[in-house]
C-alpha cells in the first residue's frame, strides 16, 4: 500500500522535524498513557504493574532513540501561554541526559516497587503507581522544557505529584513529613524561584534557554549575584542548606519513593535546573567573569561538608542516605558555581553516576527493611552473610559515590576536581576531597558491618526476593558500566561545553 508508506515516512519526518518535532510531546505524554492504562487495569494488579513496566520500557526506548538527533535543535511549541510567552519543548544534551536517567531508572524502580509494596502489603497501590507515573511525566516535562516558564510548571507539577507519595502511609509521621516537604518546596519555589524567573523575564525580555546565557550582558554584577542566589535557594529541590529540610522529612515515604525522590526524579530535577540555569540563563562565561556565583559557591561548600557530617552521625539508615544525598547534590551545585566547562560536565556526569549509585543504596535499604525489618545502621551486623547480593551491591554503589575506581563516580569527581583546579579554587579542591573522605567514612561502615561483624543472633531470613534483589543488582552493574562508558555519556555534552 503506497498510501500507508508515505504516511509512515511522513510521520517519521514529523517525529524529528526541527520545527515541530512530535517526538518531544510524545515522550512527555508516554507516562501519562501508562497512567491511564494502569488506572483502567486497577482491578488486576499484575496487569496494572505490567502496564507501568511496559510504559517505562517504551519511554526508555523513546528517550534513548532521541540521542542520535540530540544536536539538531528539535523544538515543539505547545501553545501560547500568555502573550509573548509560550509553552515550548526543545531538545539539548543536558536535558536529554536527565530524561535518560529518569526514563531508564523508572522501569527498574517499578519492578522494585512491585516487589516492595507486595511484600509489605501496602495499601492504595494503584494510587502509588499512578502518582509515580505522574512524577515521571513531570520529569520529562522539565527535561525537555525550552524556557523557564515551561520548566517552572513542570517543577511545581512534580512537587504536587510526589506529595501524595510522601504522605502515602498516612500516619502521624507521614503527615508531619509531608507537610514539611510541601511547605519547603512550595515556599522556596513560589517565594524565590518565581520572582527570579519574572525578574529574568523583565531583564532579558524572554525566558528561553539560550546557549551562552540569556542574561549575558543584560545586568550588572550586583543584580546577577542576587538573582543567582534567588535561583539557587529557590530551586529547593537541589537541597542547598538551609532549604534542605524537606529531604530528610521525606524519608517517611516507602523506600521505592525514596529511591525515586533521591535518585531519579526530584533531586535530579533540582540539580538539573541549577545546571540549566547556570549554563543557559546566566552563561558560564558571565558567571565566572562577573564573580556572581562566588557567594553561592561557599554555601554549596558548606552544605557539602555539613551534610556529610550529619550523615556520619546518623544511625538511621535512610536518614544517613538522605544527608549523603544533600552532600552529593552540593557537589553538582558547586560545579555550577565554579562555572567552568569541565566542572559543569563533571556535575552533569555526577547527576548520572550519583543517580545510579544512590538508587542502588536505597534499593538495598528497602531490601534490608523488607527482608530483615532493620532500619538502623547499628543493627546491620552480620546481615551480609544472609543477604550477600544486597550487601555486595551496597558496597559497589558506595564506592561509586565516594568516587573510587573502577566505578562510575570516579570520573565525575575527577572532572569536578579538574574544574576547581582550572578555576584556581584551592579551597574548593580541598572541600571536594574532604567530602569524598567523609563519604567513605559514612558509607563504608555499612557493608563492613554486614560482612565482617558477627551477627548478634541466628539469622532467620535469606536474600531478598527476586523482584527486590534483581533491580538492585542491575543498578550496581550500572555503576560499573558507567566507569567504562563515561566517555559515551560525556561525548554529546561536547556540543554545549568545551571538554579537554
Amino acid at each position: 500500500m503506497p498510501c500507508s508508506g508515505t504516511g509512515v515516512s511522513e510521520l517519521f519526518a514529523a517525529w524529528t522535524s526541527p520545527g515541530q518535532a512530535l517526538a518531544l510531546p510524545v515522550t512527555v505524554a508516554l507516562p501519562l498513557l501508562g497512567l491511564g492504562a494502569l488506572l483502567l487495569l486497577r482491578r488486576h494488579p499484575n496487569a496494572r504493574e505490567g502496564a507501568s513496566l511496559l510504559s517505562g520500557i517504551l519511554l526508555a526506548a523513546a528517550v534513548l532513540a532521541l540521542w542520535p538527533v540530540v544536536d539538531r535543535g528539535l523544538r515543539f511549541e505547545l501553545w501560547t501561554w500568555l502573550p509573548g510567552l509560550s509553552l515550548e519543548f526543545s531538545l539539548e544534551p543536558l536535558g536529554l541526559l536527565f530524561a535518560t536517567v529518569a526514563a531508564v531508572l523508572w522501569p527498574v524502580t517499578t519492578v522494585f516497587a512491585t516487589g516492595y509494596l507486595r511484600a509489605d502489603d501496602e495499601r492504595d497501590q494503584t494510587r502509588f503507581f499512578a502518582f509515580f507515573a505522574l512524577t515521571i511525566t513531570a520529569a520529562m516535562w522539565i527535561a525537555l522544557s525550552a524556557n523557564l516558564v515551561t520548566l517552572f510548571i513542570g517543577y511545581e507539577l512534580m512537587t504536587l505529584a510526589t506529595w501524595p507519595l510522601v504522605a502515602h502511609k498516612g500516619s502521624a509521621d507521614a503527615r508531619r513529613g509531608s507537610r514539611t516537604y510541601l511547605v519547603v518546596l512550595l515556599a522556596t519555589s513560589i517565594g524565590l524561584l518565581l520572582p527570579a524567573i519574572v525578574w529574568t523575564w523583565l531583564l532579558a525580555g524572554s525566558t528561553d534557554f539560550r546557549p551562552g546565557g540569556l542574561l549575558a550582558g543584560q545586568a550588572g554584577t550586583g543584580v546577577l549575584t542576587v538573582l543567582f542566589a534567588l535561583y539557587l535557594f529557590g530551586i529547593g529541590k537541589a537541597a542547598l542548606m538551609p532549604v534542605h529540610r524537606w529531604l530528610p522529612a521525606a524519608m517517611v515515604a516507602p523506600t521505592p519513593v525514596s529511591a525515586l525522590l533521591h535518585a531519579v526524579a526530584v533531586v535530579k530535577a533540582g540539580v538539573f535546573t541549577v545546571l540549566k540555569v547556570a549554563v543557559y540563563v546566566f552563561g558560564l562565561d558571565t558567571l565566572s567573569g562577573s564573580g556572581a556565583a562566588r557567594p553561592m559557591m561557599w554555601v554549596a561548600a558548606f552544605t557539602l561538608l555539613a551534610a556529610a557530617l550529619v550523615a556520619l552521625r546518623s544511625d538511621d539508615l535512610k536518614r544517613r542516605l538522605a544527608y549523603s544525598t544533600v552532600s552529593q547534590l552540593a557537589y553538582i551545585v558547586l560545579a555550577a558555581t565554579v562555572a567552568r566547562d569541565v566542572a559543569v560536565a563533571g556535575g552533569a556526569l555526577h547527576m548520572v553516576t550519583h543517580a545510579v549509585g544512590k538508587i542502588t543504596l536505597f534499593f538495598c535499604a528497602g531490601a534490608i527493611y523488607i527482608t530483615a525489618r532493620k532500619s538502623r545502621v547499628s543493627e546491620l551486623d552480620g546481615l551480609g552473610r544472609a543477604m550477600p547480593w544486597t550487601f555486595a551491591a551496597f558496597l559497589v554503589a558506595s564506592i561509586s559515590i565516594v568516587g573510587l575506581p573502577p566505578l562510575g563516580g570516579t570520573w565525575s569527581k575527577w572532572l569536578l576536581l579538574l574544574g576547581a583546579a582550572e578555576a584556581d579554587q584551592v579551597v574548593m579542591l580541598v572541600v571536594l576531597l574532604v567530602g569524598s573522605l567523609l563519604a567513605l567514612a559514612y558509607l563504608m561502615p555499612i557493608p563492613m558491618r554486614g560482612f565482617f561483624l558477627p551477627p548478634p543472633g541466628p539469622l532467620a531470613h535469606g536474600e531478598a526476593r527476586l523482584t527486590i534483589a534483581g533491580p538492585l543488582v542491575l543498578t550496581a552493574v550500572g555503576c560499573v558500566a558507567l566507569f567504562f562508558g563515561a566517555q559515551a555519556v560525556l561525548a554529546p555534552l561536547a556540543g554545549i561545553l568545551e571538554l579537554p
Binding site: L157, V183, I190
Partner: protein, 492 residues
Amino acid sequence: MTAHLPVLPVLVPLACTPLCLLLRSRTMAWLIFMLAALGSLLSAVLLAVRVADGETMRYAMGGWPAPQGIEFVISGFNTPVLLLVSLIAVIAAVYARRSVAAEIDARRVPLLYTCLCLTLTGLLGITVTGDAFNVFVFLEISSLSSYALIAMGRRRRALVASFRYLVIGTVGATFVLIGIGLAYAVTGTLNMADLARRLADIDGNRALLASVVFVFVGLAVKMAVFPLHAWLPAAYAEAPSAVSTFLAAASTKVAIYVFCRFAFTVFGATLVFGTMPIGRVGLLLASLAMLIGSAVACFQTDLKYLLAWSSVAQIGYIVAGISLATSAGVSAGYLHMINHAVLKAALFGAAGLLLLRLGSVRLTALAGLGRRMPWTFAAVVIAGLGLVGVPPTAGFVSKWALAAALLDQGQWPVLVVMLVSSLLALVYIGRIVEVAWFRNPVELGETPKPPASMVAAIWVLVIASLYFGLDATLPAGLADAAADALLGNRGE
C-alpha cells in the same frame, strides 16, 4: 435590533424580575432567572465581539443624547466584566436550583430568584452605564437586593450579617453619591465622558479633590478593601450557598471595575495617581489586605468564613495591580479579577455542596471525608492551589502578571508581601487538605447524593481555572484590551 444591543444585558434581567415575582412557582422562577442570565450572557458575548477591535459603542437611553440623557458605553474596559458577571450568573443559575431547594424555605424561593435577577440587573447596569449618577442608581439596586439575599441565609446570624452590610454599604453608597454630587457641582455634568472633558481644564479645585476622596472611599467599601472589609466575611459566609457563589465572584469585581472607570476615565490618572496619592494609599492598603486577610483566613474554623477572608486578601492582589496605574499593573488586576472570580465561585460552590451533604462546613465536620467525597475535595484542592498560585492553575498566571508588573515598577516590598500572602494561602488550603485526608473520619450516616447540576457547575469552573492556567491568552487578551481602553482613551 442590533442597535439596541448595549441595553439588553440590563434590560433582560430587569424585565425578568417582575415575572419571577408574579409567577410564584419555584421552577418557573428558576427558569426565568436562568433565561435572564443566558440572555445577558448572549448579549454580552455579542457585544464583546462587536468591540473586540478596540472601538467603543455608545447608546443613548430613550433616544436622549448625552450629556443630557443617560448613555450606555461598551468598550474594552467593561466587556471583561460584562462577560464575567453574566457567565458567573449562568453558572450560579445551574448551581442554584438544587442548592436553593435544599437551603431555602419553599415560600421564599421565588423571592430569592427575584432578588437575584435584580442584583444581576444592578451589577450589569453599573458595568455598562456611562453616566455617573446612573452608577449610583444601579449600585443601590444591586446593593439593596443583595442585602435581602444575604438575609435569606439558613441561620439567624444571616440577619445580623445582612444588617451590618446594609449599614456599612449604605454609608459607602452615600459617600459615592456625595462624591458624584461634588463632581456635578464643579462641572455641571453627570455624563462620564463629559465629566472627563470638563475636569481636564480644572486645576487644583478643593471640591474636586473632595469629590475624588468621597467616590473612592465609598467604592472601597463596596470593594471590601481593607480596612473597609468588615461587612464581607459574615455576609459571604452566612448567605445561601448559591448567593455567596454568585456574590463572591461578581459583586466586588464590579465595584473594582467602577473604581478603574472613575480613576482612569473620569478623574484621570494624572489627578488620581499624580496629584493625589491614591496609588500609594492603594498599594499600602492592598499590602495590608493581602497579609491580614490571608493570616486571618488561616485561623478560621468554618470553611465559608475561611474562603471569605481569603477573598479579602485576594481583593488586595487586584487593588495592588490597579494602584500601580501602569498598563501591566491594570492588566494584571483585571486578569486576577477574572481568575479569582472563577476560583472563588468554584470554592464557594464546593462549600455549598458540602453544606448540602453534611449540614455544616465547620472544618471539624469535614474530617476524613477526602476519601468519601473525592471529587468535591479534589475541586477544593485544585481551586485552592489556584489561590496559592501554583501552576498549572489560573492563579499562577495572575501571580506571574502581578509579579512582573510590581517588579517593573520596583515595588519590592509589595512583591514580598504578595509572596508571603501566597504562602499563607498555602497554609489555609493545607489545613483543609489535612482535615479532609488525614483526620480520622467522623461518623456519618447516609448523606444526600450530590446533585449532578451542582457538581457540573463546580467542575466547569475548576476546569476553566486549569485551562486558564495553561493557556491564558483569552483572559490575558481581555485584560490587556481593558488596560488599553482605560489608559489610552483620555485623549492625552
